[in-house]
């Protein structure tokens, strides 16, 4: 999968999981401050991403993911998407 396509898919899933408008889910958006996501929201979002992309995202790798862009990068690295 190409990265732009992957980014779009990840953002759509995040928008749905976090119940926010799709246009709020930008790469710079911070989960906590901008998207009002708590730890449970994030866990559920990760579960949804794992299911959608068929990947496994270990909890410790989630620790440094604070923005949407970082989440996209992490999923991309698991899927092996081209830049």
């Amino acid at each position: 999968m190409e990265k732009p396509e992957l980014q779009d898919k990840v953002c759509s899933i995040l928008a749905e999981q976090l119940a926010v408008d799709r246009d709020k889910v930008t790469p710079e958006a911070r989960f906590s401050e901008d998207l009002d996501a708590d730890s449970l929201d994030l866990v559920e979002a990760v579960l949804a991403l794992e299911e959608e992309f068929g990947v496994s995202i270990p909890e410790d790798e989630m620790e440094n993911v604070k923005t949407v862009g970082q989440a996209v990068d992490l999923v991309a690295s698991k899927v092996g998407a081209s830049a």
Partner: protein, 246 residues
């Protein structure tokens, strides 16, 4: 939550787990009867449920083993559907004074009774979170609340279950999932089979009800907690012990 949820009861081939499986099936749930070492017992209870027009099948599971838990849940999901009710009942005990207690036995006790509940709950939660409905009922013991000489490992594991229950309840309550723990008193099952008569007599003496409890009396509370009407009971510690710990 749609129609009747699917229940997974660990350690259900006999004793309390068996009674709980029967009770849940009577309440209309499809039941996965979890067992580790007694397939015949599990099969017997599954057949009984099916012959009473219920839905059940047996599922091997070693709750202390991550791979076994993963495989078991995958099979249950495939056969019955996502688990909406999890009863962490599988338990192990071996009495002995702490000063001479074997480390392997300590580990086995903690792994089966406490880690097992964690592994199974962790595996069951994603589906419960997704459907915004779930029931986790942990079976601890009066030993979680009151000490017993010879039961440091057992008490530790069961008291641990109480702490686990309370914290987990706070994590997932917002999603319509309740997590509660029951503390049975002395119940005649295979787990307590080896208890010497004098000790059993002492329990009865300490119990206001003046008798041991039955697996059915434990199941009644657990089935209630697993149901829709217990929707506001969360993080609760419920003794079912005839007043033993009162």
């Amino acid at each position: 939550m749609a129609d009747a949820p699917v229940a997974f009861v660990t350690g259900a081939s006999r004793g309390i787990g068996r009674a709980v499986s029967e009770g849940l099936a009577r309440a209309g749930l499809a039941v996965a009867v979890g067992y580790r070492s007694d397939p015949e017992g599990a099969e017997e209870i599954a057949q009984k449920i099916v012959s009473d027009d219920g839905r059940a099948f047996t599922q091997t599971i070693d709750v202390a083993d991550e791979d076994s838990v993963a495989e078991a849940f995958a099979t249950v999901e495939r056969e019955l559907g996502p688990v909406g009710v999890l009863v962490n009942n599988a338990g192990y005990t071996k009495d002995g004074l702490a000063v001479r207690y074997q480390v392997e036995t300590w580990d086995r006790t903690i792994d089966t009774n406490l880690k097992g509940a964690f592994l199974c709950s962790r595996r069951a939660l994603p589906a419960m979170l997704k459907s915004r409905w779930g029931r986790v009922v942990n079976v601890a013991s009066a030993a979680a609340l009151r000490g017993n000489a010879g039961q440091t490992a057992y008490s530790a594991s069961k008291a641990g279950l109480v702490g686990f229950t309370k914290s987990l309840a706070r994590e997932v309550g917002i999603r319509g999932i309740t997590v509660n723990v029951v503390c049975p008193g002395f119940v005649e099952t295979r787990l307590t089979e080896a208890t010497p008569d004098e000790i059993k007599a002492r329990y009865i003496e300490m119990t206001p009800a003046g008798r041991v409890g039955t697996p059915e009396e434990m199941a009644a509370v657990i089935v209630f907690l697993a149901g829709a009407s217990a929707s506001y009971v969360n993080g609760a510690v419920i003794p079912i012990d005839g007043g033993l710990t009162a």
